[in-house]
């Protein structure tokens, strides 16, 4: 009889604690157009799979009247569940409990589930919705953040780490997401900044709204802090599920293979790419024309769109794509696009995801702003990431491959395993106009008609060098292929390099040009 009573009491207690800040606070949360922390976890995980831990953890702060306050779950829900039947660790900050503010115990719940994820080698998903440090706890809150950052760093490259920003995420709190692999934001809900609008206004007199300073769109398009941008929380959860389905659980595994499908996009690559190297096209159509079911899951779609990165499947296996995008800024490499590509390459290399590079770029973006912004050290990240990567690396040169860009975009010289070129490829030290102006400067200057001479010399350069055969003759590319052979060749190269092993000198770690 008494056992029954205990169980009833437990159920009652759990029901109260599971409501977080209580009905009024939950109503407020919903009125802001937000789901509650628990609803979010349940929406993301497989049905009935969530097992919560540490529901009854309590804070230990005794100052500022905190000794009289009970904070259910200390403002964060942690636990384990499954997605597609595979385990994931998850935590969600509960804004209804003291604004989801982070105190030491709150942080320790998070670090406990992170430690668990790292030991069990399963992905860790963090849902952020917090007003920031719990000021009453003082340095305890700072300690908590630091302990989270430390674990984010240890887990980096071992298990996929995903951050979902579903509310404010300000001050120190932003650095955990920044250390994780993928950050998801939702329009009107996500806010991220180091110092908020009120501080900026009081110190600098600059008036700006939260949305303009660090809203979802800003981080997706301008700062590059966010990788996925959604219109609603449910759209965001669909994106997370899609991403998880494409990734391995850890760096010791490979992403699950699924049933291969042929591309559904019936466009031919030869028709997508214009002959004239000055004309743009959407390189994502080329990706869709070669990948399974034409299903390309783009990462950082809005940020630095002059390079395209993302995941797709070839013959059922996950592949990472890096492609110059002639549609934007002619597909140049610049500071932002270099950062974007380099980090993605390193992610794929860490998680055993082969890399396919599609190249069509005229070079680096010229300009004082680029040089002064450090395009040298940013651009170097691409060289570093490709050279360091030991996963299978394949390059297809679609059209232009000029100068430093040719080297950077996974050339043979940086350790590419396979390099192919379409007949439309131009592999040269620079564009024909520039090259002719330098090499034939004297002839052009001394000619009776310099313009005619220049045009003739440009044509001469195009005929001699603006093609794939000079590079093919030196063995820098393995084959000149017909556009329609691309998919089958990619599948072939990935199947033969399934067990690729590549030697790298032993070291504690490299020193990439951060």
């Amino acid at each position: 009889m008494s056992l029954q009573k205990d169980i009833l009491e437990l159920r009652e207690k759990k029901a109260i604690y599971e409501k977080g800040g209580g009905d009024t606070a939950i109503e407020k949360q919903m009125a802001m157009g937000k789901l509650t922390a628990r609803q979010r976890i349940l929406a993301l995980l497989d049905e009935d799979s969530f097992q919560e831990y540490d529901l009854f953890v309590e804070h230990e702060e005794r100052n500022f009247g905190m000794d009289k306050k009970t904070l259910h779950g200390d403002g964060v829900i942690t636990g384990i569940g499954t997605m597609f039947g595979e385990p994931v660790c998850i935590y969600a900050q509960d804004f209804t409990v003291m604004g989801g503010s982070l105190g030491l115990k709150h942080a320790r719940k998070i670090t406990k589930i992170m430690d668990h994820a790292l030991k069990m080698k399963v992905p860790c998903i963090g849902i952020n919705d917090s007003g920031g440090a719990r000021i009453q706890e003082g340095i305890g809150a700072l300690a908590g953040y630091g302990e989270i950052f430390y674990r984010n760093t240890l887990a980096s490259g071992v298990i996929p780490q995903i951050s979902v920003i579903l509310g404010p995420c300000a001050g120190g709190a932003v650095y955990s997401p920044a250390l994780t692999d993928f950050v998801f934001v939702v329009e009107n809900i996500s806010k991220m900044f180091i110092t908020g609008p009120s501080v900026i206004e009081s110190v600098l007199g600059e008036v700006i709204s939260q949305e303009e300073l660090g809203g979802a769109r800003i981080h997706a398009e301008i700062t590059g802090n966010a990788h996925f941008y959604a219109q609603s929380e449910f759209d965001c959860f669909d994106q997370i599920k899609k991403l998880i389905s494409l990734l391995p659980a850890s760096n010791t595994k490979r992403a699950a293979k699924i049933e291969p499908k042929v591309p559904s996009l019936k466009k031919q690559i030869g028709q997508i790419i214009p002959q004239d190297p000055k004309k743009p096209y959407d390189v994502r159509d080329v990706i869709r024309a070669v990948v399974d079911d034409s299903d390309f899951f783009e990462v950082q779609e809005l940020f630095a769109p002059n390079i395209v990165i993302g995941f797709a499947r070839l013959n059922g296996d996950t592949v990472g794509f890096v492609a110059n995008q002639p549609l934007y800024l002619a597909g140049v490499l610049d500071c932002d696009s270099s950062d974007k590509a380099a980090r993605f390459i390193r992610f794929c290399d860490s998680f055993n995801i082969p890399l396919v590079t599609l190249e069509d770029m005229p070079g680096y973006l010229p300009g004082v702003d680029q040089e002064h912004a450090g395009v040298i050290r940013h651009g170097a990240k691409v060289l570093y990431a490709y050279s360091e990567a030991t996963v299978p690396k394949v390059t297809v040169i679609l059209r232009k491959a000029y100068g430093g860009g040719y080297i950077a975009m996974n050339s043979r010289h940086l350790g590419a395993d396979f390099v192919f070129a379409l007949p439309s490829a131009e592999i040269a030290v620079m564009g024909p106009e520039g090259a002719a102006n330098i090499i034939f400067a004297k002839e052009i200057k001394e000619a009776a008609d310099p313009d005619a001479m220049r045009a003739a010399k440009v044509q001469e350069y195009i005929d001699k060098f603006a093609n794939p055969f000079v590079a093919a003759a030196k063995g820098y590319i393995d084959a000149v292929i017909e556009p329609n052979e691309t998919r089958n060749l990619l599948i072939h190269t990935l199947s033969v390099s399934k067990d690729k092993y590549d030697y790298r000198p032993e070291k504690k770690h490299g020193i990439p040009p951060f």
Binding site: L204, P277, P280, A330
Partner: protein
């Protein structure tokens, strides 16, 4: 965006000697044009508050003399005269909050 719309938005984009048809990004359009620094313009290198002002227009000032103090991030920064010269204009007052790159003093 339809293909027709895109076509009309394509611009000529020069990379070395060749111009490519392409779209621009918001960030690229909003980038700041570089201007050569003018040593006669004393600009704020950090946003802050003027807490002390020692010079008036027309005043002769020697290199190294204190022009003003700019308090920023709880630090009181000395702004000194970079070379001997005459103050042409003073665009700040004591107690005024100014943004970064604000032209505080002009010298001639």
């Amino acid at each position: 965006m339809t293909e027709a719309n895109k076509d009309s938005e394509f611009v000529d984009f020069a990379v070395t000697a060749r111009k490519y048809k392409t779209l621009l990004t918001k960030k690229f359009i909003n980038r700041k044009e570089w201007e050569a620094p003018n040593p006669n313009n004393i600009k704020s290198y950090i946003p802050g508050t003027i807490i002390e002002l020692n010079v008036k227009p027309g005043q002769k000032v020697k290199q190294g003399e204190l022009l003003l103090r700019l308090e920023a991030m709880k630090m009181q920064n000395r702004i000194d005269m970079p070379f001997d010269g005459i103050i042409k204009s003073v665009n700040v007052n004591v107690g005024e909050k100014i943004p970064k790159n604000f032209l505080m003093i002009e010298i001639e």
